[in-house]
Amino acid sequence: MKLLIINGSPKLGKNNTSILLDKFISGFNEKSDKTFQIYRMNTNETYQNAAKIFFEADNVLIAFPLYSYSMPAGVKLFIEALEPYIKKCHGKKVGFLIQYGFEEATHARPLEKYLASICKILECEYMGTIIRGGCDGLCRGQQIGRARKILQGIYEIGRDFGTSGKFDQDQLDHYSAPEIQKKMNPLLAKIIFWAINKFYWERAFKKNGVNLKESFAKPYGQ
């Protein structure tokens, strides 16, 4: 199998999407009969180019972060560049990888439906969407303990995809859990979120020379 991997992270340098993709690829490559090409798109020119190489590929994985509950604007520009290929993508297999900061899978479900609908418009085969929350800070080297689990999971998905040529929905669901947070005591929830804000975000403010009060600035009024 030859796999085209498109990385749609709009970030300029290091990005969480590529960290996940690297692990996916190391799993995918475990057996030697696979080849892959990776294409990074984050400019107008690369969005247009990506559409062309997408059309020529047989197997494609499109990976990007969740922005505002859907794809980043640039990835949408890429999708718009696919307009000439509507109903012309028979035989092509397409899967997706979405990663983001919030923990729960539910945030990406509407987008997942949209991505399936795009495959329908193009008339290609929709393979599925790998959804993984809790990925914020991976590329800043934060949350090391949890990162190991996130990376091991994507490695296994890559490995199994390399063997079978398809995604196993049960495996994807297991990887993206929890769907929503378990019901918890409101007091306990308050303590947990206080701790996340204190030790994750406030630490990040401090690193940038911003104090807690300044972090709440309202530069545009009110």
């Binding site: 505002s68 509950y69 604007a73 509407p110 949209y114 418009i121 947070q181 911003v210 709440f216 530069p219």
Partner: protein, 179 residues
């Protein structure tokens, strides 16, 4: 009462959509409602690159000092914002999505639990009510409106309704001025 229309139509060869919005502004103004119409494709807007500067380095202010600053000020000063876009490949335009992505400075990174899932706390006290205004989907995009609604119900703090250019302009004005 101040209404802001954000026109995310990227296509110069689709003037019907722009004309509908110009009519909306005109009819609103005739009724003494302040209606502002911004044509996004005439603005200089950089895509959000997820750098978090607006959260961690210069709270509330984007790394890119482009026209979005002006738009954010207008946005916060409005009672109702109409996000307008033709449906392209089953979703709102990349142009309107660019504007949406660049709303990040209006939030604060702190998290809280909202209906069993994480959410960010607001930075400002008040946000405008939001409606979407779409055109008619093509046949192959028939479920686009439902999908767009599902996404925007989560991403917009105050989404009230989705209109289409099939709605009578008067109906839209009557409804949104009562929010």
């Amino acid at each position: 009462m101040k209404i802001l229309i954000i026109n995310g139509n990227p296509k110069r060869n689709y003037p019907e959509f722009d004309l509908y919005l110009e009519q909306l502004k005109k009819i609103g103004n005739e009724k003494d409602i302040a209606v502002e119409l911004l044509l996004l494709r005439d603005f200089n807007l950089h895509d959000c690159i997820g750098c978090y500067s607006c959260w961690l380095k210069t709270p509330g202010i984007c790394f890119y000092h482009d026209d979005q600053e002006l738009i954010l000020r207008e946005f916060l000063a409005s009672n109702v914002v109409i996000l307008a876009s033709p449906i392209i490949m089953g979703f709102v335009s990349a142009l309107l999505k660019c504007f949406n992505d660049r709303l990040l400075p209006l939030g604060h990174p702190f998290l809280y639990l909202k209906e069993d899932k994480m959410a960010h706390i607001p930075r400002y006290t008040h946000y405008p009510k939001t409606v979407l205004l779409l055109d008619d989907p093509k046949q192959e995009e028939s479920n686009a409106r439902t999908l767009i609604e599902e996404v925007y119900q989560r991403s917009s703090r105050e989404l009230r309704k989705i209109f289409t250019t099939k709605n009578k302009i008067q109906e839209i004005i009557d409804e949104i001025t009562h929010y």
